[in-house]
Symmetry: C2
Subunit: 384 residues, 2 copies
C-alpha cells in the first residue's frame, strides 16, 4: 500500500481522454495534470507560493541534479525536499536516468548500473536501480520513477531491444529496493520507436507491477507521428486504474494529443525555459518579446490571460526588461508561460468533464496547421 491513490472520475467517449484524481500525502491533484519542472529544488524564477497560485498541483524535481548538488543526504537531514524548498504540494522525482545519459560524461553502462562523471566537477559516480530508489526516498518524493536507460534516437533494433530488456530487469530491482513506506513508484516503458518492443516493455513492466506507468524515450527527436503512434499503442495496454505519464512532453498541442490517447500526467521545461529566452505562449501563437514591434505596445502579452504579468504589465515594459537583462524579465515571463500551460491543462480537464475533448482537439489541430505554415517551433529538448 502506498499513500498515493488514483481514481478515474470520468472518461470522454469522444477521444478516450480521462479525468482523474491522484491523491497523495501532500494533497490531491486533478488529472490530466501538468507538472512544472523544479530541477534543482526550485521552479526557476518562481516562489513556491507563486507556483501554487498559478495552479500547479504537483511539481517534478530532478534526482540527478539534487544527488550531485546539494546531495540527497543533506536534503534528508534537513527534513526532505518539501521542507528544504518550501513546497507543500506533492513532488514527483525522475530517476536520474535521463540526465545521466544527456548531461554527464564518461558513461559506462553495465548490468549493475551506470558509472558517470558529474557535469559540474567531473567527479565519478555510480547510479543503479537501488541507488536511484534510495536517493528518491531520501529526497522524500511522493512519486518515484524507476531507473531506466534512455536510448538515443534513432537507435538500431538490437540495441533498443537489449536496452529495453535491461530496463525491465532494472524495474524489478527498483521495485524490490523500495522501503514500502508509502511512496509510490512508477514503472517506465521503453523500446524506442519499435512497436513490438514497446508492447513487450509494457507487458513486462505491468507484470512487475507499479503504482503508475510512464512512457519514456519520447520527445527525443522523433516525428509527431512516431510519438503519438507509441502513445496510441501503449496507453490502452496499461492498467486502466493506474495513472499514465508521458515524460518530458511537450508543446501544448502534444499534451492535448496525448490526453486524447488516455494520458494523465505531463512535465516539460518548455514553459520555463522558453520564458527565460523571451518566448511567450499566447492563445494566438508564440510571441518573441524582444521584437521591435512590441516597443510601444501597451497591451498585455495575451489579453485573454488572467496571470499576474498580463494583468499588470505591457509588452513594451516586458520588452524593456528583457533587453535590459533584468531578473524581473525572467520572473514575469515565467509566471506568464507557466500560467499559460496550467490554464491550458485546466481547459483540457474542463473539456473532459464536458465530453468535448474531440472538439478541442479539432480546433487545436486547425490552429496548429495555420500556425505551422507561419513559424518555426522552438526546440523541444526537455532537460532543464
Amino acid at each position: 500500500m502506498t499513500d498515493v491513490s488514483f481514481e478515474v472520475l470520468r472518461k470522454d467517449p469522444s477521444t478516450g481522454a480521462r479525468l482523474g484524481l491522484l491523491k497523495t500525502a501532500h494533497g490531491d491533484v486533478e488529472t490530466p495534470a501538468f507538472m512544472p519542472v523544479g530541477t534543482q529544488g526550485t521552479v526557476k524564477g518562481l516562489l513556491p507560493e507563486t507556483v501554487r497560485e498559478l495552479g500547479a498541483g504537483m511539481i517534478l524535481a530532478n534526482t540527478y541534479h539534487l544527488y550531485l548538488r546539494p546531495g540527497h543526504r543533506l536534503i534528508e537531514s534537513l527534513g526532505g525536499l518539501h521542507r528544504f524548498m518550501n513546497w507543500k504540494g506533492p513532488i514527483l522525482t525522475d530517476s536520474g536516468g535521463f540526465q545521466v545519459y544527456s548531461l554527464s560524461r564518461l558513461r559506462k553502462i553495465e548490468e549493475a548500473g551506470v558509472t558517470f562523471q558529474s557535469h559540474i566537477d567531473g567527479s565519478r559516480h555510480f547510479l543503479g536501480p537501488e541507488e536511484a530508489v534510495e536517493i528518491q526516498e531520501s529526497l522524500g518524493s511522493d512519486i518515484m520513477m524507476c531507473f531506466d536507460e534512455c536510448i538515443p534516437h534513432p537507435a538500431g533494433y538490437a540495441y533498443a531491444e537489449q536496452s529495453m530488456e535491461r530496463t525491465l530487469r532494472w524495474a524489478e530491482r527498483c521495485r524490490n529496493a523500495r522501503r514500502k513506506d508509502g511512496r509510490a513508484l512508477f514503472g517506465i516503458v521503453q523500446g524506442g520507436m519499435y512497436p513490438d518492443l514497446r508492447m513487450r516493455s509494457v507487458e513486462g513492466t505491468v507484470k512487475t507491477g507499479f503504482d503508475g506507468y510512464a512512457l519514456g524515450g519520447l520527445s527525443v527527436g522523433e516525428t509527431k507521428e512516431e510519438m503519438f503512434g507509441v502513445v496510441e499503442l501503449a496507453a490502452p495496454l496499461l492498467p486502466a486504474d493506474r495513472p499514465r505519464y508521458v515524460m518530458g512532453v511537450g508543446m501544448p498541442g502534444d499534451i492535448l494529443e496525448c490526453v486524447c490517447r488516455g494520458i494523465d500526467l505531463f512535465d516539460c521545461v518548455l514553459p520555463t525555459r522558453t520564458a527565460r529566452n523571451g518566448m511567450l505562449f499566447t492563445n494566438s501563437g508564440k510571441l518573441v518579446i524582444k521584437h521591435a514591434q512590441y516597443r510601444t505596445d501597451e497591451t498585455p502579452v495575451d489579453p485573454s490571460c488572467d496571470c499576474y504579468t498580463c494583468r499588470h504589465y505591457s509588452r513594451a515594459y516586458l520588452r524593456h526588461l528583457y533587453l535590459s537583462r533584468e531578473i524581473l524579465a525572467l520572473v514575469l515571463n515565467t509566471i506568464h508561460n507557466v500560467r499559460y500551460y496550467l490554464r491550458f491543462i485546466e481547459s483540457i480537464r474542463e473539456a473532459v468533464r464536458n465530453g468535448r475533448t474531440g472538439d478541442l482537439l479539432k480546433k487545436f489541430r486547425e490552429n496548429q496547421a495555420a500556425s505551422d505554415s507561419r513559424e518555426e517551433p522552438p526546440s523541444t529538448s526537455w532537460e532543464e
Copy 2:
C-alpha cells in the same frame, strides 16, 4: 506650489534626528526613509508589490538609464513610469548627472551641459539642466533632482570650486525649466570635501530655492569622518522645514549617523547589489552565503528577521540556490536585504519617536567597532 509637502513631526533632542512626513500625490512617506533603487524601472529581482510589502514608501529611479533605454518619451507615451513599472507609490528620480560621470564615456563638460557616449551602444547624447528636468517630467517623477556635476574624489580646490559654482548656475536653470505642474524639485549641494565650498553651495542653493535639498558627492571614497563632517556642517544650514537627502549613502551605520545629523532621506544600491553577490545583512553582522559553514545550517539567515526569506528558508537552501546560480537565490537574497534595510530604518524612526536615537547610535557604534576588527566592509559604490 507642488503636490509634495513636508512636515517635521518630531525632533529627538538627544541627537537632532527628525521624524517627518513627506506627502506626495502617490502617497505619504514617513521619514527618515530609505529608498530602494529601481535603476531601469525595476528594483532588481522584486515585484513592485513585494517592494511595498517589504515596507518601502518611495523608490528611486535612474534618469540616465531610463533616458537611454527605453527612452523617456516612450515611457511618457505609455502613461509615465509609475504605470509602466506598476509602482503605485512615489518615485524620486535622480538627474542623470552621477551616471553621466561614472558610467558613460567621452564626456565633454561645458556650461550648457554634458556631451557623452552611451555605455550601452556608444551613441552620442547631450544632457543639460533643461534636458534633465524635461526627462524627469516625462517620466512622471514625484521628486526630481537638479542636474549637477559630480566631481571625483579627491579633487583639487580650484576644480571643486569651479564645478560647485557651475552646479549652482545649473540649479537655477533647472528651477527655471520646470513646468510647475506639481512635481517637487530638489537642489543638490556640492563642493567636495571643502567646508567653505560646501557652505557657499548651501547658501547659493537655498537662495535659489527648492522643495528639498540633497547633499551630493558623498560616499565616493572619502573617509567616514569627511562624510559625516560635510553632513554635520551642511545639514543645520538647510531650511528646517524642507526634507534633506544624502544621496547614495550607504551602510546601515552611515544612515544612522546621518539621521542623527538631521538627514531625512536615503537611497543606496547596497542591499540589492550585495544580495545578488550573496552577501546578506544580519543583526549579528554580514553573512556570505556561499561559505561552507552554512552547508547544513538549517537556521534562517537572521533568526530575528521577519522577512519572507527568513520565515521559509534555511541558510543551507539559500547556499544551494546561490551555488547553483538559481534566479531564486537573487530574489530571496534581495527580499532579505531590502527588508533588513527597511526594518533598520523603521527602528530608527521608532527611536526618533521615543527620543532614543542617541542610545541607538551608541549601541551601533559599539557593535561597529567590534565588527570592524573582524571583517572587511563590502565595496560601497552606489551606482546600480
